[in-house]
Symmetry: C2
Subunit: 87 residues, 2 copies
């Protein structure tokens, strides 16, 4: 199965990287860009017997491995059935 | 308006960071995680007269500012009407 996990800074945490991107955009002429917040995404391919097991595994990964729960939130996006591909 | 832009490595580009996360997951006991690919996301708040103008601006930003089109793809996710918030 495949899923995407989004990790974003909590709303009250400053994001200097996003601010820098917003300024870079303004200096390139995109003055209508009011705010940019940067986050991470993880495309995860996993073997799981069913959707519930996949979601359980993804939640654990989101909490324990991929995000810092003090300053970040995570969100699991659409779990899709797909054979894992070797890479 | 608000939108999210996803920037991901093209499928044929190696992702050592994602590989490291997959190995870290395995060493934590998550052996069913077959593959992880890491990408970036940008939550953009912008002033635009309409959806078409917003999409045009977001496409330009995705191409020229936020992604490296040689190795990365970008995708614009759901443009929502929302007042820009000062920060």
């Amino acid at each position: 199965m495949r899923a995407t996990i989004f990790v974003t800074l909590k709303a009250d945490v400053l994001d200097p990287q996003g601010k820098a991107i917003q300024r870079a955009a303004a200096s390139l002429g995109y003055r209508d860009v009011a705010q940019v917040r940067q986050g991470k995404l993880f495309e995860v391919t996993l073997d799981a017997p069913d959707r519930a097991a996949a979601e359980r595994l993804l939640r654990e990964m989101g909490e324990k491995l991929l995000s810092n729960p003090v300053i970040e939130d995570y969100r699991i996006d659409r779990i899709e059935d797909a054979k894992p591909t070797a890479r």
